[in-house]
Amino acid sequence: MPLQKLGVGEYRDDVYRPIGDWMLMPGSRVAEERIQKLNSLEFMGLSELTVDDMWAVNSRNSQIIFWSLGQTVSRLSSPDVAAEVYYQLVNSLAAGGWRNALRHFGTDRLSAAQLAWYQDASHIFYGPHTQAYVEYDERVVTVTRNGCQISYHHPRSQLTVC
């Protein structure tokens, strides 16, 4: 199956055409300034919100909540406990996702194309701030990302994290 014959995000006959540029995804074009205004409730008309607005803010909120979880546990208990919470939570989510991919393809070993598909599929539902730029050949799958679930420019540490 020639890659060029596939649509973006389509998998067939063990060939996958990655999404590539996520500007196509809902919410990707919403400016950071607008996200912050919406998140600060600096707007009036609820009916004026677009699907893009809601995708963008929902994605950002999930990042903030995830990040705040670590900060809160760190404050209430210790940074080591917070780190272990992250580890256990993400480990469980990743293992579940991987098993779902194996079940989806009916295999116990993902091919490179299947792995590339899985990486796009597993990031797509987290919204426009967790873009995964997937590239692959027979031996190597690379996933380069702008962000992840705890990407957040934290004002206290001045650290852009991912």
Binding site: D21, P79, N91, V140, R145, Q149
Partner: protein, 80 residues
């Protein structure tokens, strides 16, 4: 001699971030021993990528880069 250690709050943030990434990498390593899995996070310069890809060809990546966001790279290599 200047103090080379990061401020305490940055050290804590890095600990949390490291463990976040270790969580999924360890899951993949356990479930797919036929893969070598590597991750590098908080990359600010494309020269630091584990595998060189032309990430700057993606307009959405460049938007995030202009916003000052760092990025990360996850690499799966088939070892058998």
């Amino acid at each position: 001699m200047p103090n080379q250690l990061p401020p305490p709050e940055v050290a804590v943030d890095r600990l949390l971030i490291d463990k976040f990434h270790a969580g999924y990498v360890d899951a993949y390593r356990e479930l797919a021993p036929y893969l070598d899995v590597q991750v590098r996070h908080s990359i600010t310069d494309p020269k630091d990528l584990l595998v060189m890809v032309d990430i700057e060809k993606y307009s959405s990546f460049n938007d995030s880069k202009r916003a000052g966001l760092s990025f990360d790279q996850l690499v799966f290599r088939y070892i058998d």
